[in-house]
Every structure is written in C-alpha cells, then in structure tokens.
Symmetry: C2
Subunit: 273 residues, 2 copies
C-alpha cells in the first residue's frame, strides 16, 4: 500500500483522480488479493479478540465517509464481511434522533466505539457534523470551526485508550455518481437504494468537496490519519481499504495470550470429570 | 429439513442421540449445501432489508443455546457469516451486569431485538434465566416457575411485532464436550477459549440436561418453536441450523418493494444535474 499515503496539510482533494488505481493496475490480481487476504484478516482479528479475553484493550476503528453511492456498503460487505461477525461491530449513523440532538455531537459516537478485541466500522460518523453541517448550515460557522479541534482531541483520546483509527474517504467523481444513481432508478430491484434526497445533496457537490477538503486536512493526525481512496473502480476501492485494514492489524501484531490458569491442574480436573 | 421437527410436549432430550445426523448423512454433500445456500440466504436478507426501508417491519431472530463447546461460535461464523454483516445483529449475553440485574430479566434482552429488515442472533439469551438460574439456584423455584410463562408471553409479543423466532439448542454429549475442552487445554492457541468455570458447569451436566428438558418443552410454541440440533458433528449442526434459518427466510418470502417516489421525475431531475 505504498501508493496510499495519509492525507497531510498539503493534500488537495481536487488533484486526486477518482478513476485512478494507485498501487494496483490489475483487476484480477486485486480480486485474488481480496480473497486470499480475507483469511489473514480474520486470523488477526481472532488473535486480537483472544488477547482481549485475557485483559488486552486494543481494537481497531474503520471510519468510512463518502458521497452517496461511493461504495461504503460494498466495503462493509466485501472487506469486513470476511471477518468473523462476532468480532465486528458495524454502525451506520443516520440523521440524529431528537435524543441524540439533545446531547453533544460525540455522545452517540462514543456509544458505538469498538470493544477491546473487535473491529468497529462507522458507516458515516462524527464527520457528518463538519460536512453536511457545513454545507447545509445546520450549525453556525464558529461551532463548526471549533469541532475540528474537538474531533482531534476526541480521536487522540480514543487512540490512547487502545483503538487504532483508520479513516477512509471513498472518492468518486460527479459523473460516476450520476451513473450509479441512474442504475438505481433503472433497476426495480435497486429502487429501495434510491432516495430523492440523494439528488438534493448531489446538487451541492462542489460544496461537499470543499467541506471534505477542509475536514480531512484539518483532522488527519498521526493518531488518526485520513486516507482518500479513489473509488470510481469498486474493485480497487475494496482492495485498497482491505490493505489499509490489514496494515493496521499487522502492525498491532496480536499474539495468542498465555493462559491465566494452571493448564495441568485443569486438565487433571477435566479428565476426572 | 423434514428430519428436524419442532420440540413438542412429548419430546425427550435424553432420547436424542447427539451423534446422529437426521436428514443428512453425507458430510461432503452438507458442505456443498452450506456453500451454495449461503448466497440464497444473503439475497433473502437483502430483500428483507429493502422491504424495511419502505416501511416493512419484519425481522428474524435466531436464539442459540447450548452447553459449553457445543459450537455456537462456529454457527455464527459459518452460517451467519455468509450474510451481509450490515443486515445482522449478533449479541452474546454474558453474566448480567449490576445495572442489568437491577431490571427484570427481559430488560437487556429487549434492547438487543433485531431491527426491521435484519437477522438478530442471540448467543445465549433469556433462557439462561431458567437454565443456570435453575441449576445453580440463582433464583427461587417459584420465580423460575413463573418465568416460563413470562417468556412465552414475551416471545408471542415479539412475534406479533413482526419477528420470526427460531430457537436452537445445540445438543452435544458429555464425552464430546470432554474431548473439546481437552483440545482447548492441549493447544496454546486455544487456551483463551478455556475458562476453569467451564469444568464447574460440566460437573452439573445432568442438572443442566434436566433444566433444558423442562425449558424447551415448556416454551416451544407455534410462535417460537424450539429445535434441538444434534451437534457432536459440527458439519451437521451448521448445515441443520442454516436449513432452519433458510426455511424461516423462505417462508417470509420478502420482495423488492415498489418505489415510493416518482421514478421518471427523479430520473429527469438526475439527468439535469
């Protein structure tokens, strides 16, 4: 994954081609990787879970943000879907409820943080509070301005508690989105995936790109880096996000924990039972 | 799945051989079924989810109960693991917390019921309150006696709200459990799966069998039937539980919902954007 580096202060979203495939040009090769690395990811997660049963506190959080149709659902299905579902906690953040609105914007987020040993996946996240909120003016500019710092502090705290954070923006082009929305309208079995509100958001495309540009450059930190994944090619985006997750898990290098009980004594007790 | 019929009042747990494989004698055939039916199950769940997006309220709840090592985890991994993780909600009920103990025994259960469109899986459940509670005397006999009726009423209410309930007891023999616990002690990569308390429970094997016999005959209803799945052979148990889940989903027969917006108008709006 040399080709995907974390976002830094000089990153310009508009300069990244959503149709590019950095680090992987062969679709078949990518599909083979996706298949073979699934088992590795699953094994690493099992070790992380095992570790947590004997006191380990580490976990991983994958944050997915994107314009509609960019393929968040496909990432969850094809990348996360290969991992034992008992070790995964997926949460899709929708428009906040009245109860959620009555609390600070991180309240509902904290409740969904992954338990030790598991992989959390946020389908949308606290970033909506600096994305749609900025574009639609749901919060005043000075409140949004403050939130970047609040988010950085929050993520530093989460990282310090043992959670490795990987933030991914799936980056598609406006034309690609039109194609995908059209497919949802053309196929009756896809009608349920379409919402008239999707077009309302699409009409604000440039404002969203600007909001993303600001959000990701201001909140890409060592503790919680952003990666922008070109996503016009679904096969590429899946391969790339799997690679980021695999990198994070490999760096954690979880090990089978040593027994915290007397193995021989328990064996004797079992044999006598 | 003709071979697996719901538990009725005349059912005798002790008469069911945990090493039997009713309805399927060929391990390879079962493995092929497991693979091929995974996609069917996934598609049915997607339709159920689609339905829920346009007002559908139906869901499925799989309740798994068993003695330790009987293979609940393997069922979740191999049967439920083939379904889009976004459509699945798995919850493992552990010993209740102080907060949970302060409420009635169904309080924590209600919070984990599946959302419309999804498949919920309970790894252990409210049945612990009539199983371990009975065996260990955590609750007085008259309280436990009352609970069977409370559970039946609760499940009838859940079923009436649109949730199809499938309850499964994985049935292993005492010898098979010894073999499996021994493996956990013999393999360092399995040590984390062993808990000295597992042997304490094992020493009460016969009392647990009796508690199961009473619980399943008293709470197997039309709304929420119990199925006892012989589980000495893991390949069989997975195949059988997948079959039960598939039966439930097939009976629901979810359909792609019709659009609740004007498709042509939205297409025109999209093309102009």
């Amino acid at each position: 994954m040399d080709a995907l580096t974390p976002v830094d202060a000089g990153f310009v979203l508009a300069d990244l081609d959503p149709g590019s495939t950095p680090g992987m040009s062969d679709k078949k090769h990518a599909a083979r990787d996706l298949d073979s690395r699934r088992a590795t990811l699953d094994k690493l997660q099992e070790r992380l879970f095992a570790e947590s049963r004997f006191g380990g506190t580490r976990s991983v959080l994958l944050v997915l943000q994107a314009m509609d149709t960019a393929g968040k659902g496909g990432i969850v299905r094809h990348v996360v879907g290969g991992i034992d579902p008992q070790g995964v906690h997926i949460h899709a953040f929708k428009a906040p409820t009245d109860e959620e609105k009555a609390h600070d914007f991180l309240w509902r987020i904290r409740k969904q943080l992954p338990q030790p040993g598991s992989i959390g996946v946020f389908d949308r996240s606290h970033y909506e509070d600096v994305l749609i909120h900025r574009v639609r003016g749901f919060s005043p500019p000075e409140v949004i301005e403050e939130r970047y710092g609040i988010i950085n502090n929050f993520e530093a705290e989460v990282a310090a508690s043992g959670t490795t954070i990987v933030k991914v923006m799936l980056h598609i082009s406006k034309d690609e989105q039109k194609k995908r929305l059209l497919e949802r309208l053309d196929r009756p079995d896809k009608h349920w995936k379409f919402n008239p509100g999707d077009i309302d958001e699409r009409l604000l495309w440039e404002k969203y790109q600007e909001a993303y540009q600001i959000a990701i450059t201001r909140t890409s930190t060592t503790d919680a880096p952003w990666f922008v994944v070109p996503a016009n090619h679904k096969w590429y985006a899946r391969w790339a996000v799997q690679g980021l997750l695999l990198d994070a898990m490999t760096r954690l290098d979880p090990q089978w924990p040593a027994a915290d009980y007397d193995v021989d004594a328990e064996r004797a007790r079992l044999l006598a039972s």
